[in-house]
């Protein structure tokens, strides 16, 4: 059973996505802030992380992802980012090159609202790549 950590400061989004993914057979943990997210990532050792971009601060999601990858055992964990921010203002979310993925510590950026089937599809795609598909 693959373990997924959802981090978002929008409690409604967390509760909906958690219910959906749980129903699909995943073990889901949620966190509403960066500090909470890091604590959960340590205890829960997720197989995949879905994180929001703009939490306490406009780019705090990137900081969060970098810190997650620095945790023991999580340097390779797939991270999907979901954000309602437009793609081109201030920073760009181009994850098509390995250099950018490495710099952002994010495998893919999904634009909110993310359809559930897309979210599920992406999660399964990254988990199977990791060889831990549920």
């Amino acid at each position: 059973m693959a373990k997924i950590l959802l981090v978002d400061d929008d409690a409604d989004l967390l509760s909906g996505q958690k219910a959906f993914l749980t129903k699909k057979g995943f073990t889901v943990e949620t966190a509403g802030s960066i500090a909470d997210g890091l604590a959960k990532a340590t205890q829960f050792a997720p197989d995949l992380v879905v994180a929001d971009l703009m939490m306490e601060h406009y780019d705090s999601g990137f900081v969060f992802c970098k810190k997650v990858r620095e945790l023991p055992g999580l340097s390779e964990v797939p991270i999907l980012m979901q954000t309602a921010a437009p793609r081109k203002v201030g920073f760009t979310f181009d994850t098509t090159t390995a250099g950018n993925r490495e710099w952002m510590k994010v495998d893919e950026v999904l634009t909110k609202p993310v359809p559930l089937e897309d979210l599920l599809g992406k999660i399964e795609q990254y988990l199977s790549r990791k060889g831990k598909n549920a």
Binding site: D10, G16, K23, A85, P86, G90
Partner: protein, 491 residues
Amino acid sequence: MPESPDPREADFERARRVLVIDDEEGMREAIRRVLEKKGFRARTAADGETALAMLAAEPFDIALVDLKLPGVDGFQVTEHISRTLGNRTVTVIVSALATVEAAVEVTRHGAFDFLVKPFTPDDLMEVMERASKQWRLLRDRETYLSEASSERTLSHQMINSMREGVVVLNIMGKPALMNPRAEFFLGRKWNDGLTMADLFGGTPVMDAASAVLANPEKGDSRMVHVPQGGMMLQVGVTPLQLNGDIGGAVVILTDVTEAWEAEQDKNRFVSMVAHELKSPLAAILNFINVILAGTYEGEPEKVEEALRRCKIRGEALLELIQDLLEINRRDAGKQEKSIEELDLRKVLAEQLDFHRGQAERRGISVVFDAAGPPCPVQADRGDLDRIFVNLISNGIKYNREGGRLEIGISETPSGWEVKVADTGFGMTPVEMKSLFEEFYRVKNARTSGIAGTGLGLATVKRVLAGYNGRIDVRSVPEEGTVFTVTLPRHR
């Protein structure tokens, strides 16, 4: 065809003042009479010394000089005139020496023309006409020269006083001129050895200037960020025309920092708006999709809870859209303001009345002296409502259950000070840092369930700025927050 009168024919521009120098009184007087009859003002001198003194004392347009004078002779007078008054006084020699050699000799001494004795009045007038024409030519030339020189000075000073930086590049791309503003913008003092690379190396201006010099058919314009002082310059390069040929390029540097920053702010605002509009929508659509996917099958209470949250988020989204439209109306100046004398105490009492239900539901007791003396203020009612609706509803929303909301008014030398104090969660200094910025909301476990647009306090600050008022905040975590509004009595 009627001709408009030549302004140079105006009286003061005609040769009128004539000095007649002759030692024979009969000749002097004869000439004077003829000239005055023709409208000239003639004065006379009987010898060279007197003539020189008169020439030094007052201006003459034409001098009729007899060659054979006692003492200082006609040659010397002519020479003196040509040397010192050459540009304003035309000399005509009057003499009985009617030889070609004599004529050549006097013109060599600076005389303009030659009149041979004896002569008729018509002969005299013919010479006078030629001399007048010459005087006018001299006069025009002088005017032209002084105009040209003042024009050069003027354009020079104009270029040096411009707010734009100007750099002129010659055809080889070498800087040929640079005004003080350009020196300031580029951080370089002008010197002869400057090259284009010294000024623009490593910036897009290099390419723009090279392009214009290579293909002078069209200009070029680039935006360049100057690191010194964080200036943003708009740099325009246009071909320089010299008598129809390409003589180089003119580089105009304009400081567009302010407009650029405003543009950046606007972009940031638009991206924040997009983010803030999409976030609640994402939550709503997510719930709907979760329900449609059958996630909550057999759990109707979960469906109901999801729908209840959808309603709250949908209402918050609507509120945000209304706030945005309001901001837009105010920015576009479409908002009609009617400034009138209002009683601040009454306005606050009405606002508190309006929020009573909301406060009661949370068990919050409101403390306000509604019966106190009136507090007159010149303001728009809508503006006052916007200020206090936000502060009062925050004081209720972010308060603890069963807390207290206290509003007090006190008089200051210039107006009123309103304190809105709650017994809520309070804020840490870090949380307060961006409190008055648009879309900023304190995000922590306690605030996550509270709906808000992040525009309330930003709006309060903007509205107050229109009254030269201000808002300050003091807060202690777990104890509460006090907002202090300072509002001048007169706008």
